[in-house]
């Protein structure tokens, strides 16, 4: 594993201000099959956009499933805001789930609800606010992602980019400190993808949100990612880590060279 000399990617536990996300010796696998990724250590700091990068099939999405608590790691810990999300089983998971939001690759909006109802859903479930206030908050979140005019549309009637924006608004409904985005640019045209990148950067800056973005889109990586973790199939874990600029230009790791030089002669 190679590491950027200027970066401090080792976990630095600080009880007063724990990192939004810390993976400790994390080993993940599909069911009973051999581990896909082993012994990973990385952190996402407050207000940072952390990229989880790697070629197709290296285990990015599997890692994400473990980070968001959909699958239990074979070994190691996923620590969100100082708490191991698997420490007390469902109880710690339920606590953790209020602290983060997830945007899935397809948006995963509820098809029979309007965009406004989609964003309202977590607020109705987890808060005791009056319905009108929930509506106002949901609308504000849609306005934040530029969808105020599509609030009463069903997901089937809006574009893929709009679905992803609405999914971000839904993930933001409870104001989590951490947002996981799975392939935000996948399936979008370059202009829509660039708009989405802008939105992610704006939200990170204005709301001091931490983002964990799983992606393999080079343009998006270079534009939005502050720190990156590059996964490798051969090493079955982190092949390299650091800023995208470091990984693209200086990292001696063959995986980094292969990943960032693809498509170049």
């Amino acid at each position: 594993m190679t590491q950027a000399p200027t970066e401090k990617m080792t976990p630095t536990p600080d009880p007063a201000r724990p990192h939004p996300l810390r993976a400790e010796n994390l080993t993940v696998a599909h069911g009973d099959s051999p581990p896909l990724l082993e012994g990973m250590n990385f952190v996402a700091k407050e207000g940072e956009i952390l990229g989880i990068l790697g070629p197709s099939g290296c285990g990015k999405s599997t890692l994400l499933r473990h980070l968001v608590g959909l699958a239990e790691p074979r070994a190691g810990k996923v620590i969100l805001f100082g708490e191991d999300i698997f420490s007390e089983g469902n109880r710690s998971l339920a606590r953790a789930r209020r602290k983060y939001g997830v945007m899935y690759q397809s948006g995963a909006l509820f098809g029979d609800l309007t965009l406004l109802e989609n964003v309202s859903a977590p607020l109705k479930e987890f808060t005791r606010l009056p319905p009108k206030m929930i509506r106002d908050i949901a609308f504000l979140k849609l306005s934040l992602v530029g969808l105020e005019k599509a609030a009463f549309q069903l997901p089937a009637n809006v574009s893929g980019g709009m679905c992803k924006r609405a999914a971000i608004a839904r993930a933001l409904a409870l104001e989590p400190g951490l947002l996981f985005l799975d392939e935000p640019s996948a399936g979008l045209d370059p202009i829509t993808a660039a708009d989405l990148d802008e939105l992610i950067m704006t939200l990170a800056k204005n709301l001091k949100l931490t983002f964990v973005v799983v992606t393999h889109e080079l343009r998006s990586i270079m534009k939005i990612v502050d720190e990156a973790v590059l996964l490798g199939k051969e090493v079955r874990g982190i092949a390299a880590e650091g800023t995208p600029e470091y990984l693209a230009r200086e990292s001696p790791a063959p995986e980094a060279i292969a990943f960032f030089q693809r498509g170049k002669k």
């Binding site: 098809g111 908050i137 104001e175």
Partner: protein
Amino acid sequence: MAKNVPDFRFEGPLEGGLFVLSGNLNAFTAPKALLVRFGKAFGGLSRVRLDLGKLEHLDLNGAAILIALMGNLGAKKIDCGVQNVPEHLLPIWELALKNHPSPETLREPEKPDVVTLLGMKTARFLADLRDLVSFLGETLTHLLGFLFSPWRIRWGDFFALAERSVVNAIPVTCLVSFLVGLILAFQSAMLMQLFGVEIFVADLVGIAMIRELGTLLTAIVLTGRSGSAFSSELASMKSNQEIDAFVTMGLSPARDLAVPRILALTAATPLLTILADFTGLIGGNIVMISMGHPYMVFWEELSGHVDASDMATGLFKAVVFGFTVALIGCQRGLYADQGPTAVGEATTRGVVTNIIAIAILDSLFAVLFYALRW
């Protein structure tokens, strides 16, 4: 995340309608009860100032709550404003102010009135009927074409579909039919025994099963089992754009996907019906045996009153029902909408339409055969 910050509190009204807010204001720390109490504290005031100077943490949800409260006060013509927004909360406050909805933007699109709704439903029904008729025409055209070139039929698909849709439905159809035959014989036998004519149970069960119930039960089982499977399969293909791919490649979904299914069900339904008839009769016979009649009495009585025309009637209807179930199942699937609920909707509509169609066709056949004295 605000750590170790006390929950939201307010003090007031102080002099000049001043309220001092403190603590951490977000969607979790401002429950409805607190907000109601906060709202009541404004009673009788003509001017309200919210002092945010002591507020330690405020997120977008908290800011939206405050703006909504101010909007409520504004609607009651109360002069309302905020003061002393702390420096560290200013960006969030301004972001919330910028994105808060106006009452106009929050207005839901108008819902159609009853007359419009009725018109829309009627138009939808007529469009459905047109689609069904047009699909029937398209299918019949392809079937006619296959008559002259039978080698173009996808026989592999035909046999696989016949097995999956009909052969695999044998156990459930026979079970249902057997039980219906049993119940029919038992119910009628109790009445006929009073008059000492329980021997006629054989005729009743025989004619009812062979002319009517065997066919009907088979059609209903096939509707629930195979027609719905056709609808959901084809609707899924439509959702995945496989049907679009068929069309753009110059292939015909009706010819290549629907016709093999329709042929398979049409050809195999009569065979399933014969099995259903037979198991229903066995059910009837068991009741007769339990009443003390020898095994052969049932069949001898039956052969005297049930003839080939009864069998032909049942089988003719089986062919029509098999064709109908497959046709409607495929049409609902191929004409499904796009979207996550489309598959479920197509399947439900396929089953409902099929049951209605079978009931209507069966009634028509009853009148027709009565008129023909067949």
